[in-house]
Point group: C2
Chain length 414, copies 2
């Protein structure tokens, strides 16, 4: 065809993009979880294209050893030191190095793989993910904590090291794909889609009485309890706003959310000419993972093909700030910057845990987050973390603060 | 941000893409029509970025002269020689060269403008559009005839001259935009959206009785009668399949159509990873025109911003081959190749004219097209046109053939 593709893109980062040599060496931080499993499913399809350097898990030593053997990994590490002996014995005779403890996860990240899947959940992800970025790797980022709790720090260090940060989350990956149709300065707005959760059409009265069982039923994706509850409160989307802000260097006013219950459109970018570019797809995480794994090439996946005529209808609505205050809280934390998103995230983790353990009502979740943000604000503890240690400290302090505020909020919201 | 854009695209044409020097010199072939007017609206917003070389019209000499003066054009031409004196007198004292006749349109196209809007309608567009492409210009193509009647010829000559062909049509422009998210070999399927026209939900019985008045009411876009009728029969989408085949070098089986009554999603590209990239926007032709005008940069337009929550619902359905046989006829012509698309287009033009003049029923339109294709097939006159003259000859012969078949079809379909 004569219609050419866009010429060489303007540089968007301080580093030139280099095609990694093939076969690409990969490390999987969090190999036994859902994202790790989907990644391995893709690796298995074209084993000649990849060489596995390291794999890690939290404590599933036997499963990790099986994977390490199958994939021919050189290094396997479990975060929990108590799992070391099992890992060691399961790997005996394989020639695969075994290690354990938090520092072994960092070591895994530091080993020389071209591409690292950062899929460790929780605060334990911070150091290993940062370690991968700091050596200039291509980091497929599948955990929220790095960007929510230490986003500015993480992106700054990644840029300084010439790392390439690839977003795995379906919404951010969609935006990453859509951004390829233009240049940064041509972007008017980025729109994240939210399923709206199971209470999208519930009244405020009904939402006040939501049970744990009701909240754990998610209409579209099958996910862990934390993310499921976050989807029900829309806090998940609030955290994603913060992530998008860091990933794509977008100002808060350039970020928007639209509720889209079918979860077929994963994200949209509005350009200054009025064009809106969207990424759509079946709800199969192998699509965004493959986009990161093959990037800048698209690889074939076995994900179900999207059949729009079969889907029939895609609907969109504004999120309701009255029934779902979490989004506004996240925007507040995003606008405040500094440590505020870390406070938000920590307070939300406590609130969700307390809700799941039936010590806090559903509307108590945003109430506890708001109270914690207010208290942290009054105490002036919202400064920007300058290190992982500082981020972890803000996280810990915020959890304590939220725990302290819990009885009062639980009483009010019940 | 650290997430980089895609590195230099693989070469997709035989020529390297060159950024045209700014200000960009532009020529408007068909300056007084709807596409010409929208283009001029964009030029007026940033006059310092453009220098107008030539403008043409069919016979609206006074309007053309006004535009030529306002835009500071160097050359103005009318296709109709009878309009020459009026143009000459309206331009007197302006220093703008006036010309008339079909050859003057070719001359306008040949003058050294970086960018040419090819918005002349009908067969008259063939020679001027080809002339612009053959001197290696950036040609924004807004007429169907070049691609439908002489697509292989046009794209071959454009490629040989190093021309850049930019699609103006909202559907093809959408696909052009979506294709930027990947490489040609990563494309699994390209999907054109069709509004479905005013008879999308009508029964076959109702469609048989459709009046001209009913057919001329188009639900979304305001267009001329020919395109409006083509939208009602879905022949418009059939012709667009043929255009997309040539523009993007897509095989027939890589091309699909989905009915989408809201006309918000203009086109989609499915990649091999399962990602579907779509371009959406308000129904404002300034969006695709601006994309061609600024390409590879996106320029700001005053087009209404898309508000998905306000739109509410986007629906999709399969086109019905029984009620709308035009799509299958176009696919047949596409598969046959050679002169078949030219026969299809010519027969359809006759059929639509006869329908609008109330000498043929609505279902007689595809019936006449099919009969003409059958007859042309039997006579073996479907060879690939090797020149504009040959394409025009196939066109003329097909019109005669359709006219000969008309009485019989009109009698059958009434």
């Amino acid at each position: 065809m004569v219609v050419p593709m866009k010429p060489a893109q303007q540089k968007r980062s301080r580093t030139e993009v280099q095609l990694a040599p093939m076969p690409r060496s990969v490390t999987l931080l969090g190999a036994t979880g859902s994202i790790g499993s989907s990644t391995i499913d893709l690796l298995r399809r074209e084993p000649e294209l990849y060489r596995v350097e390291a794999v890690t898990a939290n404590r599933s030593a036997a499963a990790l050893a099986r994977l390490a053997r199958e994939l021919g990994a050189r290094f396997a590490a479990v975060g929990d030191p108590a799992a070391y002996n099992e890992l060691k014995s399961e790997l005996s005779g394989s020639g695969i190095e075994a290690a354990a403890g938090p520092e072994s996860l960092v070591e895994a990240a530091q080993r020389p793989a071209d591409w690292v899947m950062a899929a460790i959940t929780g605060a334990a992800s911070l150091k290993p993910t940062l370690a991968a970025a700091e050596r200039g790797a291509w980091v497929a980022i599948a955990n929220k904590e790095c960007l929510v709790c230490a986003g500015a720090l993480f992106m700054r260090r990644a840029a300084a090291a010439g790392a390439t940060v690839l977003p795995v989350d379906s919404e951010h990956n969609a935006i990453f794909q859509a951004l390829a149709s233009g240049r940064r300065e041509e972007v008017r707005r980025v729109i994240l889609t939210a399923s709206g959760g199971p209470f999208r059409t519930s009244s405020l009265e009904q939402i006040r009485k939501v049970t744990v069982e009701q909240a754990l039923k998610h209409p579209t994706w099958e996910m862990g309890p934390k993310v499921t509850i976050d989807s029900a409160t829309l806090m998940n989307k609030g955290l994603e706003l913060i992530e998008a802000h860091h990933l794509f260097a977008l100002r808060p006013e350039e970020l928007d959310v639209v509720v889209h219950p079918q979860s077929v459109v994963h994200g949209l970018v509005e350009f200054r000419d009025g064009s809106v570019i969207a990424q759509l797809g079946s709800p199969d995480m192998r699509i965004p993972i493959s986009h990161c794994l093959g990037w800048p090439t698209r690889i074939t996946t076995p994900a179900p093909r999207l059949d729009l005529a079969k889907v029939g209808s895609l609907t969109f609505e504004e999120p309701d700030p009255v029934r779902f205050p979490a989004l506004a809280l996240a925007r507040r934390a995003l606008a405040a910057g500094g440590g505020a998103p870390t406070v938000l995230n920590a307070a939300n983790e406590i609130a969700v845990r307390e809700f799941v353990d039936r010590r806090l009502g559903f509307t108590g979740i945003p109430a506890l987050v708001e109270a914690t943000l207010n208290a942290a604000d009054r105490r002036g503890v919202m400064k920007e973390p300058q290190s992982v240690e500082e981020a972890v400290e803000i996280d810990h302090n915020s959890r304590r603060l939220a725990a302290d505020l819990l009885p009062e909020i639980a009483a009010m919201a019940s």
